[in-house]
Amino acid sequence: MDDADSILQRLQQQLGVEALYQQQTVDDILTLWVSKERIIPAIQFLKTELPRPFKMLYDLFGIDERNRNRYNGLPMADFTVVYVLFSFDRNCFIKLKVALRGEYPSINSITSIFKNANWYEREVYDMFGIRFEGHPHLTRILMPLTWEGHPLRKEHPARATELGPFKLEDEYQDRQQEALRFKPEDWGLLEHGDDADFMFLNIGPQHPGTHGVLRIILQLNGEDIVDAVPEIGFHHRGAEKMAERQSWHTYIPYTDRVDYLGGVMNNLAYLLAVEKLAGIELPDRALVIRVMLCELFRIASHLVWFGTFAQDLGQLSPVFYMFTDREKIFDIVEAICGGRMHPNWFRIGGVAQDLPNGWQRLVQHFVDYFPPKIKEYENMVIRNSLFKARTKGIGIYTLEEAIEWGVTGPGLRACGLEWDWRKKQPYGGYERFEFDIPTARNGDCFDRALVRVEEMRQSLRIVKQCLENMPAGDYKSSHPLTTPPLKKFTMQDIETLITHFLNVSWGPVIPAGEAMSCIEATKGANSYYCISDGSTAAYRVRIRTPSFPHMQMVPFISKGYTVGDLLSILGSIDFVLADIDR
């Protein structure tokens, strides 16, 4: 933590000692409270002046602090805005918090420093009503423009039953539809250029190329994209709000549905944060089981991406072969978890059940079966010259741009940076496995595809290692907060019985504090920032998903290309709408 101390010292020199207050968190990430006036200089300093700077705005979110029970000496706040920055040179995060007072406070925008702050600030405004001064276009981003209230504020109801019966009146419907009408002038887009009139093409919300309910409005000159405005939020289900009314345990199934192709990988990101808060250490067997399932899901997710990407480019057949193989993975998942896409199978302190008898045979079969298939698909799709013509040199971004826009995962590795959180900040037992980090150099659609295909091979390597070295032992921790707890002593002593009963009926009480996890999910870095107030439910859960910043980048990388290229770009990004909207 010398690094953290030196950063703190440098910041104190820069901003003055009284401007900063350090908060201790269980995740060992330097957490500083900064006064509202100093936040811009602080972030500016961390990004540009500090040696080995914090180049990436990793996350930005708000917290409604008005219902807090325990402040533990922290600055008094009605709302908090949290900035999470990341430094690739230092391999460390830093959290800056700003306390805001008042019902509808405001704070200066950092969009001039970080480009990707744009959408994050809009989200905070949308969810909390906090205004960002100097933001170029501060409108709602996830909720409909006509929405009343700001959902993540504590007074906003979380259940439909609290809102009264819904009626779709004609007048209401007209108003909603009118709100969806795209007005170019709102976005600073011109209808006429120097020598041409522009056409505005509305792609989505229902369009086969968007892979879900996403709307992209294109400003076109002929077929050339002049500008694009993605509109998201159609898939918003308030996953973060639900965390505040579910118990720590019963929230797990909701995480499954965030990146719905990642399955248990989402459970892992959430549980890592919760387990940090609770201080639970996992037995080896549980760790390896989790890794194996996660890597199987990574392959499944990449297969969906691969097939649909080929289909976007007009190749109709690969998607069928790849979904067939994905089905084989689901057969394994089903045998182990009972579920398929949303197994909801990891638990606080372990996994739901031990592996079934004969699981080795299933996994072994797949490990043997799959490598020739990857080879086949590579020949079919990647080495196809039409495929190359459609993807090489399309949708390029440089490493600097990728970091500036918050790109993580395969999209970052395609720019040549060998960065994988499984290697750089190993979590959940990944440090025990041997695998390589595939990279590519050009950062175009083709390279992103190459990286993903190679990742499937590496994941398979990890699965193989799990298969060959599965440790014996418990599949759950014996920690009292493990939910549901091991039943070994439940019927023998009253204390365990009581804990068991409480943890299962009310749910476990996670100690007050806050912790952030960061995992290498299928699409990039996925984080859960859990804040506990010492209750059976989270006070606030923030889900940082990789697809959100990736989607924000689409206008930037699609300018100057054609409508056909946009499909290559969207396909190569590999986003999931639920992962964007949560």
Binding site: E223, L313, Y321, T324, F387
Partner: protein, 318 residues
């Protein structure tokens, strides 16, 4: 040939063609399914063949909607043009000795004229729909057609030089000893490529480009008007396959153990199958890539082919 016979041939050809076009719905779906490891339609009738009936009935009974913002008469006319022009092309095709609707001595030119005519259906359909996706599709269709018409015609000139006739029956007869695919391989490949572009099938289905423009120029069409585009596409495949067979693969010629018509049909379905296989295997190039490829690569090749064929033909004839 008596008038009755002639009328019978016309009716027979029309009947068979329309049935082939409809039957291709089933053939294509079954073949695609076979190549894509799935089952395809297999419920109605033996091997699911009645899916044709179900599909056709469905098309007839669907609401035939004309969008209020469309140009009504052009909107109605456009799908008729595609079917009309393709069916007209078939009148010059000799299916077997004596089985031809009109034995024109300008057969090839008539075919080229009719296939150029077909592009009007795309442009007018896309324009009359008054829809941005349809318009983009129509624009793409028009430029694709212009590019590929040029060397479609040029690729056939080698065959014309060798046979010395525009009449298709004469061209078939000229292949008695050697199919033109042997002497004109470049011409065949280019005609095939142009034919795919002409019928706008995958990989050159750029005017429709499902994942980009949804359905392109026929996005607004429903019911039997859409059905006409649909049938027009299958008729187009049949036409291009028939032309390939006639011009390069000896038409009805074949060993005597099967009648000439059977040889024609066998060869025809081979090429139809090839069209479907292409659809199952290739991705779609980008619109400007396709046009650029046409003008920059194919056009020089086809011109060179023409030059060499002419030189060699002159040399041989002394």
């Amino acid at each position: 040939m008596s008038a009755t016979e002639h009328i019978l041939i016309v009716i027979g050809v029309l009947f068979v063609l329309l049935n082939i076009a409809a039957g291709l719905i089933w053939v294509e779906r079954r073949l695609l399914a076979l190549w894509q490891d799935r089952l395809g339609p297999n419920r109605a009738g033996p091997l699911g063949i009645f899916i044709v009936l179900a599909d056709t009935l469905k098309l007839f009974f669907k609401e035939d909607w004309i969008p209020p913002f469309a140009d009504k008469w052009v909107f109605i006319l456009a799908p008729a043009i595609v079917v009309g022009s393709v069916l007209l092309s078939f009148i010059v095709i000799p299916f077997a000795p004596g089985i031809v609707v009109a034995d024109l001595n300008i057969g090839i030119i008539f075919f080229l004229a009719m296939s150029s005519f077909g592009v009007y259906s795309i442009v007018l359909g896309g324009w009359a729909s008054n829809n941005k996706y349809a318009l983009l599709g129509a624009l793409r269709g028009a430029s694709q057609m212009i590019a590929y018409e040029v060397f479609m015609g040029l690729s056939l000139m080698g065959v014309v030089m060798l046979s010395g006739s525009f009449n298709l029956a004469d061209i078939v007869a000229a292949q008695k000893n050697l199919w033109f695919v042997v002497t004109q391989p470049v011409g065949f490949v280019i005609f095939f490529i142009a034919g795919i572009a002409e019928t706008h099938r995958l990989p050159f289905d750029i005017p429709e480009a499902e994942s980009e423009l949804i359905a392109g120029y026929h996005a607004e069409y429903s019911g039997m008007k859409f059905g006409m585009f649909f049938i027009g596409e299958y008729l187009g495949i049949t036409l291009i396959s028939a032309m390939i067979v006639t011009l390069f693969f000896g038409g009805w010629l074949g060993p005597a153990f099967l009648p000439p018509l059977a040889w024609f049909v066998i060869k025809l379905f081979f090429f139809i199958g090839l069209f479907i296989l292409l659809r199952a295997s290739l991705p779609r190039p980008r619109y400007d890539q396709l046009i650029g490829y046409g003008w920059k690569i194919i056009l020089p090749i086809v011109l060179a082919n023409l030059l060499i064929t002419g030189a060699v033909a002159l040399l041989i004839r002394g």
